[in-house]
């Protein structure tokens, strides 16, 4: 069965500092990994995905994520956080042969001015 773990509840970071949001996954077979962001009172917005190939994928708003097969991780990163990055971030996985997305519990990111 596919599943995602986001171990931290909240991530606090000072504006301008690097931001990392952690995600580990469990699947049978090849994983397809996604990151979404949810701003207050808004739906989820797609940030980026990993399918195959280069382990470092770049997405919207300056975010990137690194796929690490040996550690079964897909951490989201941003070199320099902005106050406007404060939001709820969800990691999701889908394994081959499954049309359902499994979401993590979400991480609240707070960027401190």
């Amino acid at each position: 069965a596919q599943s995602v773990a986001q171990p931290e509840d909240q991530v606090n970071v000072a504006e301008g500092n690097p931001l990392t949001v952690k995600c580990t996954y469990s699947v049978s077979g090849n994983p397809y990994l996604f990151w979404y962001v949810q701003y207050p009172n808004r739906g989820l917005q797609f940030l980026l995905k990993y399918i195959t190939g280069d382990n470092l994928v770049k997405g919207s708003y300056g975010f990137e994520a690194e796929f690490n097969k040996s550690q079964t991780s897909f951490h989201l990163k941003k070199p320099s956080a902005l106050v406007s990055d404060s939001a709820l971030y969800f990691c999701a996985v889908r394994e081959e042969g499954n049309n359902r997305l499994a979401f993590g519990k979400g991480n609240q990111v707070v960027v401190i001015p």
């Binding site: 996604f34 009172n41 739906g43 989820l44 797609f46 995905k49 499954n98 049309n99």
Partner: protein, 116 residues
């Protein structure tokens, strides 16, 4: 990416009543889904809305409680029946950009439901 709208955006309902939520997509899509996001929690898949046939429900969700219609490839409705306060949640419509497992999903803005 698909543009998805939902109606209503929010509602406050009385216990025992029903509410129908509409989802409209600006293009034809094969895969449509309905999710629930309870306060402070992650997304839970309710069902996959199938065009021209009965929806496929996830464990813990039944058609009598959450009837779904999908008359065409751009529209779906979710009804929350005989509501109780435990049904207070955000309900999200979602579509996939394709049929493969590598396709991302796009989400509507959600319907915030409060049941008194």
């Amino acid at each position: 990416s698909a543009v998805i709208s939902q109606k209503p955006s929010r509602d406050i309902c009385q216990r025992g009543t029903s509410l129908t939520i509409q989802c409209q997509v600006d293009s034809q899509v094969t895969m449509m889904f309905w999710y629930r996001q309870q306060p402070g929690q992650s997304l839970t898949l309710i069902a996959t809305a199938n065009q021209g046939s009965e929806a496929t429900y996830e464990s813990g969700f039944v058609i009598d409680k959450f009837p779904i219609s999908r008359p065409n490839l751009t529209f779906s409705t979710l009804t929350v029946s005989n509501m109780s306060p435990e049904d207070s949640s955000i309900y999200l419509c979602s579509v996939s950009s394709g049929t493969g497992p590598y396709n991302e999903q796009f989400f509507g803005p959600g319907t915030r439901l409060t049941v008194l």
